[in-house]
């Protein structure tokens, strides 16, 4: 089952073609991680899936309908998006920023409908609650730490109350604890509300741990997709990143854990299942 799918999708910036004839699906009700090396087109794919980029050929469909043929506001009630590194207006409070996520649910003459029981306030309260940012509601976004700010942006995306949510590198510039916090939050959202989530993520190990479904990309094409265990192998890491590695079970989650090799360290032979030494790349 897939609500969001790309059919023969070609995406380009002016004359530079990034993705050509790509087919993929974002499975419903799951957390999908899109991984790949820098410049492989994964963020471009997300921009295409979230209608920020109009396809040069092919289409992105939501429930079988081309996303560019649907009214923008109606689409925004189903398909939410958090771009990489968004900027908040100067001096805005957390509550006001989260409230702006309600835009697609507001009509022209219902700008001011507020009050404790209004859908607006209820959605904002729920979003603050789900992201543990209720205590921050009256603070200025400028004063928050990076981790708090990212939680607030996710709260804004939650207030939009979409069934599908696309996140572009939501953990960039966060320390490890905050990266885990953000991904835990997204997982909660997926489990509790059944939200379909697709995330472009740099960190392969975290992607492997939190993904129900992995899409691996190279040079604008999908090279592998499936569960983390099926997709993330030493072979894939070599193909996609050009990196020799050992892939071992994550002692915490059991998901694949990539241990990079590099030029200065050699794996102890007895500690791995693979016998083939990786010495040749040292030369």
């Amino acid at each position: 089952m897939a609500r969001l799918s790309a059919r023969d999708l070609t995406l380009q910036y002016e004359q530079r073609r990034v993705i050509e004839g790509l087919r993929t699906e974002i499975p419903e009700g799951k957390v999908t991680m899109i991984v790949g090396a820098n410049g492989c087109g994964k963020s471009t794919l997300l921009r295409g899936l979230s209608r920020l980029l109009r396809p040069a050929a092919g289409a992105v469909t939501l429930d079988g309908k081309d996303i560019h043929s649907r009214p923008a506001k109606e689409l925004a009630r189903t398909l939410g998006l958090l771009p990489q590194q968004p900027t908040a207006p100067d001096g805005i409070t957390v509550r006001d920023l989260v409230g702006r996520g309600r835009y697609p649910h507001q009509g022209f003459f219902r700008n001011w409908s507020h009050g404790d029981s209004s859908p607006h306030d209820l959605a904002v309260r729920n979003a603050l609650d789900a992201t543990a940012t209720t205590e921050l509601a009256d603070r200025n976004v400028d004063e928050l730490s990076g981790g708090q700010r990212q939680r607030v942006w996710i709260a804004m995306a939650l207030a939009q109350e979409t069934e599908v949510l696309l996140l572009d590198e939501p953990t960039t510039y966060l320390d490890l604890a905050h990266q885990v916090e953000v991904l835990d939050l997204v997982t909660d959202l997926n489990r509790r509300r059944g939200t379909t989530v697709a995330i472009v993520l740099h960190d392969l190990n975290l992607a492997a741990r939190y993904a129900d479904h992995v899409i691996a990309m190279k040079d604008g094409a999908v090279v592998a997709e499936g569960t983390g265990i099926d997709v993330i192998t030493e072979e894939l890491v070599r193909t996609v990143f050009g990196l020799e590695s050992r892939v071992v079970p994550d002692p915490v989650s059991g998901t694949p854990l990539i241990v990079p090799i590099g030029r200065h360290h050699y794996p102890a032979p007895q500690a791995t299942e693979t016998t083939k030494p990786a010495l040749e790349i040292a030369s």
Binding site: A76, L136, I229, P256
Partner: protein, 368 residues
């Protein structure tokens, strides 16, 4: 891979997020006084702003070569007596006050809307070249077609304002990142400089044009009458309506183009609609009062102290407070160099330049 690797500990994953520890978030004292002060109090502040504007109108009618007590001003408005000399003076001043109201409101609204559309705190009809475009078009009209009536100026002003806005936007859109705030400001400044030098070429080469233009060019609300004001009214009304209703659109654009699109906004269309309103307002205001600088820059920033970043409040506050400042500038300009007068456009520049410097020095140029 062994089978054991599949045993993901789902119990661990189900763990909910803890509330942020108070040690991490710190005491809630961080809530800024300004946030607390403005919360839910905007209607009261807006009422106060209207009172300030009424006082400025009163001063505009009362102050001048012949000072008239406020009580007499009120009397002249309510029970006009043509035989009373004071009443006649007050009535003679009304068009000037109305013109200040209209031009001030238009430039305040246009400045706020431009800051929102361009996502640029330095945006202002003057800085972005829109007033320069309108002014050059008017000079061209005077020089080439011998336009004399101010009701003729307005059409040239619209064309000039729209062309300048389009050129600045196109120039800034060149290159991969599109029209970033910094590129918009640079393109606006460059175009302004170019347009004003062209204008000076025309003025230097034609004494006649210079004479007719000189008074208008510095920005003044004096010496205009009803025949000037009335033709501009419909354009001002339509422009003001468009801009006042676009508060939510500007709130969306303030989040950046990607996020605005993600929220279901049609970014290009939104920008076009608001830009149309801005051109109507700037063109009318420039035709009425000449290029008045800095009003559209200063007022929306001052207003944010009361409203925060919500354009649904910034716009009406700007509409009320910009004419108050313009009328106050005009009143001060009437008395500082007696018996001469300093045009209001020069007074607003004297007030506005320090604010501009402060904004640039604050170093937040690109984040609005």
């Amino acid at each position: 891979m062994t089978a054991s690797t599949t045993a993901a500990s789902s119990g661990e994953r189900e763990r909910t997020l803890e509330a942020p520890k108070s040690a991490k978030t710190g005491p809630q004292l961080y809530v800024r006084a300004e946030v607390r002060a403005r919360k839910g109090k905007q209607p009261a502040w807006l009422l106060a702003a209207v009172v300030v504007l009424a006082l400025a109108c009163g001063a505009s009618l009362a102050v001048g070569a012949r000072a008239i007590p406020l009580g007499t001003v009120l009397d002249a408005l309510v029970h006009f007596n043509a035989a009373d000399g004071n009443h006649a003076v007050v009535h003679a001043r009304i068009p000037r006050t109305v013109l200040g109201l209209l031009a001030g409101g238009a430039l305040g609204l246009a400045g706020a809307a431009m800051q929102g559309v361009a996502r640029n705190p330095l945006a202002d009809p003057g800085i972005m070249g829109v007033n320069a475009g309108a002014a050059l078009a008017v000079v061209g009209g005077i020089y080439l077609f011998g336009i004399t009536g101010l009701s003729g100026y307005i059409w040239f002003a619209f064309v000039g304002a729209a062309a300048a806005a389009a050129i600045v936007y196109l120039l800034a859109s060149l290159g991969r990142d599109g029209a970033t705030p910094v590129k918009l400001a640079l393109a606006g400044a460059a175009l302004s400089a170019g347009l004003y030098s062209l204008m000076n070429v025309v003025l230097v080469s034609s004494q006649d044009t210079l004479d007719r233009f000189r008074f208008w060019q510095v920005g003044s609300v004096a010496g205009r009458d009803w025949s000037v004001i009335l033709p501009a009214l419909p354009f001002l009304a339509v422009g003001a309506l468009i801009v006042l209703l676009s508060g939510r659109i500007l709130n969306g654009l303030a989040l950046g183009d990607d996020l605005a699109r993600g929220l279901g906004q049609r970014v290009g269309l939104s920008r076009g609609i608001v830009a149309l309103g801005v051109v109507l307002l700037c063109g009318s205001a420039t035709a009425l009062a000449g290029p008045i600088a800095f009003l559209g820059l200063v007022i929306p920033h001052a207003v944010r102290f009361f409203t925060g970043p919500d354009y649904r409040w910034i716009l009406p506050f700007s509409l009320v407070l910009a004419p108050a400042l313009l009328l106050a500038s005009d009143v001060v300009g009437r008395v500082v160099l007696l018996p001469g007068e300093v045009p209001a456009g020069i007074m607003t520049a004297i007030l506005g330049a320090p604010v501009f410097v402060w904004l640039v020095r604050r170093g937040k140029g690109a984040s609005l």
